[in-house]
């Protein structure tokens, strides 16, 4: 690695500055995935996204909900990644209408809850404490 570069990047801002005006994927702590163009940020890594869509993934399908401009409080960000403009159309995923994807998401969630309930019941019967519910773990 170039020493020059090595010397330069040691602040949050320096590592975010390259992503300004680029198309990003932002993953939030509640699991939501936002895709938009980063327009600005500050020292807390609060972000401003433009032309944002919320993308919902279920299995190998996804659906988009247009959202517009987002100001994201930094603490809610899990990660942000620059999207490869060449690759993004090549991913082996199918785009579905939003309604379809939302209902698929609901089904998925219900299935998970069912599974969890069953597991908790089994654990409970064995004498385990089942207060803990699986969240996104942040």
């Amino acid at each position: 690695m170039d020493n020059y570069l090595q010397g330069q990047i040691f602040t949050t801002s320096a590592s975010l500055v390259d992503s300004v005006d680029r198309k990003l994927l932002v993953v939030l702590r509640d699991g939501r995935k936002l895709i938009g163009v980063l327009r600005s940020f500050d020292q807390f890594a609060n972000l401003v996204l433009q032309d944002t869509i919320e993308r919902i993934y279920v299995g190998d399908a996804y659906g988009d909900i247009p959202r517009g401009i987002f100001i994201i409080r930094g603490e809610n960000v899990v990660l942000l990644g620059e999207i490869d403009l060449d690759k993004e159309d090549e991913v082996p995923l199918r785009q579905r209408p939003v309604e379809e994807i939302l209902s698929a998401q609901r089904e998925e969630m219900e299935a998970r809850q069912k599974r969890e309930k069953l597991r908790n019941k089994l654990l409970h019967d064995q004498g385990f404490s089942v207060d803990f519910t699986e969240t996104d773990l942040y």
């Binding site: 040691f10 995935k33 190998d60 990644g81 999207i83």
Partner: protein, 92 residues
């Protein structure tokens, strides 16, 4: 800083593990990786088209480093200093 340019794996608190070339780390343990690939890609389809990423330090669970790149004895010393630092006045 000493690991810049090395390949590391960052595991997040939501189990997502990302391997990539370390570009930068700041004082909050925010980590920037380049040329990333997700360890269990099929589980995280949203990461497929992402080429680099900035990970917020607060969501990091582990950073897996190449063992050869870490001087554990020195790290212990550093930890000792760190532990002493807040209450230790400058040497007289």
């Amino acid at each position: 800083m000493t690991l810049i340019g090395q390949q590391v794996t960052v595991e997040l608190k939501n189990d997502l593990a990302i391997t990539g070339i370390l570009v930068s780390v700041d004082q909050f343990l925010n980590i920037k990786l380049d040329d990333i690939h997700v360890v269990e890609e099929q589980k995280y389809p949203h990461m497929m088209a992402v080429k680099n990423c900035f990970i917020r330090g607060s969501v990091v669970r582990y950073v897996k480093l190449p063992a050869s790149a870490v001087d554990t004895a020195l790290l212990q010393d550093a930890a000792r200093r760190e532990a002493q630092q807040p209450t230790v006045p400058a040497p007289r």
